[in-house]
């Protein structure tokens, strides 16, 4: 009898690259359905054109360069789908076709294919068509979450991603299933919430300084501002921001691999998007912000390389140094004298 021999491990997880991509497409399907219901046939046409253009481009490039065909892994389709959601439904059909082509050809294959690109192909294509044909790419309206029902169906949506923030719940499910890491979305979202609140706090304090208030309790009371919601938050909590948090920022090749690096990257995304959005609008702000964050991803990665296990970090070293000087009688130690 013959036996297979191979290097260990002899048992691996079933999850592969293809199922990761397909799961993301599935997670986006509810949003697509709501968008088609909301915008009608043109939305469907744009999704179809973009996906087909992306897949056809990948097929063409890989056939021409005699590479192994990878269209079945779903990455091109996913890229096309994500791009379509960022195009206004009124745009002519050739826009998503050019966008899909640009995303795969320039965004992905010029940089060396899967895992090698430094910018998210979706954003590369979006930035390109946005600057080349800006008249076709400006959405008719910028949403604003005025009431709770806007989270379910946003009537001010100008882009397909904005139609229903709640339809993006699939992205949260992916995090729950550990298909997507939780660190980037959490840090990103927390920064998006904390940034406007901090601005509010700073403006409150500076107003007091301006008035010449000397009572420190007055300054302390400004901390209660964190309990009330900043007027900026309804503008920030819109569909495209959630899309950026759950789907664009978590694109794995363009985010750091280290654990702390991913947290830092999430905060970086949050800061950039908040600053852009604060001065401009959150639709462009999200996409440009994440695009810029992609630039610093590798910088974050190489600066957050973990040290050898058991090495003390700086706070631990300081703590040790202080604790070693404290006399033993003053130390609080959990000791039972039985």
């Amino acid at each position: 009898m013959t036996y297979t021999i191979s290097a260990p491990p002899h048992k691996k997880d079933k999850l592969d690259f293809r199922s990761l991509n397909l799961s993301k497409i599935l997670a986006l399907l509810p949003l697509c359905l709501v968008a088609i219901y909301f915008f009608g046939v043109p939305a469907f046409g744009i999704i179809l054109a973009s996906v087909l253009a992306a897949v056809a481009t990948e097929f063409g490039i890989q056939t021409m360069l005699k590479q192994k065909l990878t269209i079945t892994d779903g990455h091109a389709a996913m890229t096309g789908l994500m791009l379509a959601l960022l195009i206004p439904p009124e745009a002519p059909l050739w826009i998503p076709v050019v966008g899909g082509f640009f995303a795969i050809a320039v965004g992905k294959h010029v940089f060396g294919g899967i895992g090698s690109y430094i910018f998210n192909p979706v954003l590369v294509a979006w930035v390109f068509i946005r600057s080349a044909w800006s008249s076709n790419m400006i959405p008719l309206s910028i949403p604003h979450t005025g009431q709770f029902s806007d989270l379910i169906l946003e009537h001010g949506a100008g882009l397909m991603v904005d139609v229903s923030p709640i339809a993006l719940i699939g992205g949260v499910y992916l995090i729950y299933k550990k298909y997507v890491d939780w660190r980037i979305p959490l840090a990103f979202f927390a920064t998006m919430v904390l940034f406007p609140q901090t601005l509010l706090f700073i403006s409150g304090v500076s107003a007091l300084v301006h008035d010449g208030v000397l009572n420190p309790l007055m300054y302390m009371s400004q901390l209660f501002i964190f309990l009330s919601m900043s007027p900026e938050i309804p503008y920030a909590m819109i569909g495209i921001v959630f899309f950026g948090i759950l789907f664009l920022a978590t694109d794995t090749p363009t985010s750091p691999v280290t654990k702390t690096g991913r947290l830092v990257y999430g905060v970086t995304c949050g800061l950039l998007v908040s600053i852009y959005g604060y001065f401009g609008n959150y639709v462009d702000g999200t996409l440009y912000g994440i695009f810029l964050a992609n630039c610093v991803a590798s910088f974050i990665e190489i600066n957050t390389m973990p040290s050898s296990f058991g090495t003390q970090s700086l706070p631990q070293k300081v703590y040790r140094r202080v604790m070693d000087k404290v006399p033993a009688s003053l130390k609080f130690e959990v000791m039972k004298n039985e």
């Binding site: 297979t4 021999i5 260990p8 491990p9 999850l15 899967i114 890491d181 794995t252 390389m305 296990f309």
Partner: protein, 457 residues
């Protein structure tokens, strides 16, 4: 890797005599033993058939009674061939006279360990671990995290606990160590219950979890005892010793050194039990319990004589279907066998079988930097980066990224959605670094700091 074990576990004994018994003369790291018998000789159970003068070796005993039919190279579960003594067994229970030898002096105890052929499952002869040349051992640990109490011949869990405690005292005596600890797995309730409240020197011990910065040093003080029982998460892998030492004692083992350099000896349940038997019954190490996996959902345990070919064990378990892969020592890190005529050695703990359709045949694609490997790595490495560096032969950069810390658990390769052979690449780089160390002239090593910095091996 969680063992699916019901409430009742029985250890079967392999009754049927195999056609031939293959006893490799090298079942440990170190010198190969010289055969003490010739072709045609008749051997008895427990008779010493291989021995080496070298300190770094361990004696080999016959596990059956029968006739030596050949001394030749034969397949070894490590994957290569080793000089082996092949015995045709007979239906006979004749043994050499076993003489229990309690109350031995420490020096004699180490000698007894060598003579009884006790080795650790990771390869080192136990007496070399306990009394390494030129090093002092002050702490002895028994690693019970990977085996259940059933890993020996114990009637009840309580029996297991008291025998382990006695064995630990023996090991400490042999090593001349003052302190000792038994490390259990934190989710292994049965063992923890068995050890809870065990009395050592008229003092009741509690099973203490290793959490935060509390290592055994803390519990030695807290329980004011020289022996403690602690529990921690399961660690597995091929090279866990340094990480294990750090986790349990807080002592950092330098790269290229082993735990004995910091005064820690790590023994396994199997060797502890073998020592207990050697002292109390005079039996050398010629029987072992292996677990069999792959026939059904449940793990089966079977007591076999060392040298029994895998084929006979598989037949005895009643498995008849087609087998795609036979793996010694676990599906995560074990070695796939090319023949079923490899014998069970002292280092064999588990035999896993896979059906032809279960054998994985994945194709690697490019790394997508999903960082799953980073999340699962127990020693805080960046496996994806190491794999790329190793693939390109940039071994110096691998060392900068602490490749030597890798415990070779294989988690990174198992979770990889791109199916990259990360473990294989990391091992390749580690081997290359070790080889560079071997044939590098000593004066040229100034720019490349390799090997142990503290004067050990």
């Amino acid at each position: 890797m969680v063992s699916l074990r019901g409430d009742k576990v029985e250890i079967k004994t392999l009754d049927k005599l195999p056609e031939k018994i293959i006893i490799p003369l090298r079942q440990h790291r170190g010198m190969v033993c010289e055969p003490l018998v010739k072709k045609g000789d008749r051997v008895l159970i427990g008779q010493k058939i291989g021995e080496s003068k070298d300190y770094n070796s361990s004696a080999v005993h016959s596990s059956v009674c029968g006739e030596v039919i050949a001394i030749e190279e034969s397949a070894h579960p490590d994957g290569n061939k080793a000089m082996s003594i092949i015995i045709h067994p007979e239906e006979c229970d004749e043994t050499v006279a076993f003489s229990p030898c309690k109350d031995l002096k420490p020096e004699k105890l180490a000698e007894l360990i060598k003579e009884s052929g006790i080795v650790e499952h990771y390869g080192m002869p136990t007496h070399v671990v306990l009394k390494p040349k030129g090093k002092n051992i002050d702490t002895v640990l028994i690693n019970a995290t990977s085996s259940e109490w059933i890993g020996g011949t114990f009637k009840t869990p309580r029996d297991y606990a008291s025998q382990m405690m006695d064995a630990l005292k023996l090991l400490m005596k042999a090593a001349g160590a003052k302190k000792g600890a038994i490390v259990l797995r934190i989710d292994d309730k049965e063992s923890i219950d068995a050890f809870e409240g065990i009395e050592v020197d008229k003092k009741k011990l509690r099973v203490a979890p290793l959490v935060g910065s509390r290592r055994i040093g803390y519990y030695f003080r807290e329980q004011s005892s020289d022996i403690v029982v602690v529990s921690q998460k399961r660690i597995y892998g091929k090279k866990i010793l340094n990480f294990f030492t750090y986790n349990v004692t807080g002592r950092k083992v330098d790269i290229g050194c082993d735990p004995t350099d910091v005064g820690v000896a790590i023994c396994s349940i199997k060797s502890a039990k073998a020592l207990y038997d050697a002292v109390h019954e005079g039996k050398p190490y010629y029987e072992t319990v292996v677990s069999i996996e792959g026939f059904s959902d449940n793990m089966e345990y079977i007591r076999v004589k060392i040298g029994t070919p895998f084929k006979d064990i598989i037949e005895a378990c009643g498995f008849t279907g087609e087998i795609g892969k036979i793996i010694a020592n676990g599906v995560r890190t074990g070695v796939a066998q090319y023949t079923d005529l490899v014998p069970v050695t002292k280092g064999t703990t588990r035999i896993s079988m896979q059906k032809p359709e279960e054998v994985i045949r994945d194709e690697s694609v490019a790394c997508i930097h999903c960082a799953r490997c980073v999340d699962v790595c127990p020693v805080e490495l960046i496996p994806s980066r190491l794999a790329v560096m190793a693939d390109q032969g940039r071994f110096d950069e691998c060392r900068v990224l602490h490749i030597d810390n890798c415990i070779e658990c294989g988690d990174c390769a198992a979770v990889c959605p791109s199916k990259i052979h990360i473990l294989q690449l990391i091992r390749y780089a580690k081997d290359a670094i070790e080889m560079a160390y071997e044939d590098m002239p000593s004066k040229e090593s100034s720019n490349l700091k390799l090997g142990c910095a503290c004067g050990g091996e």
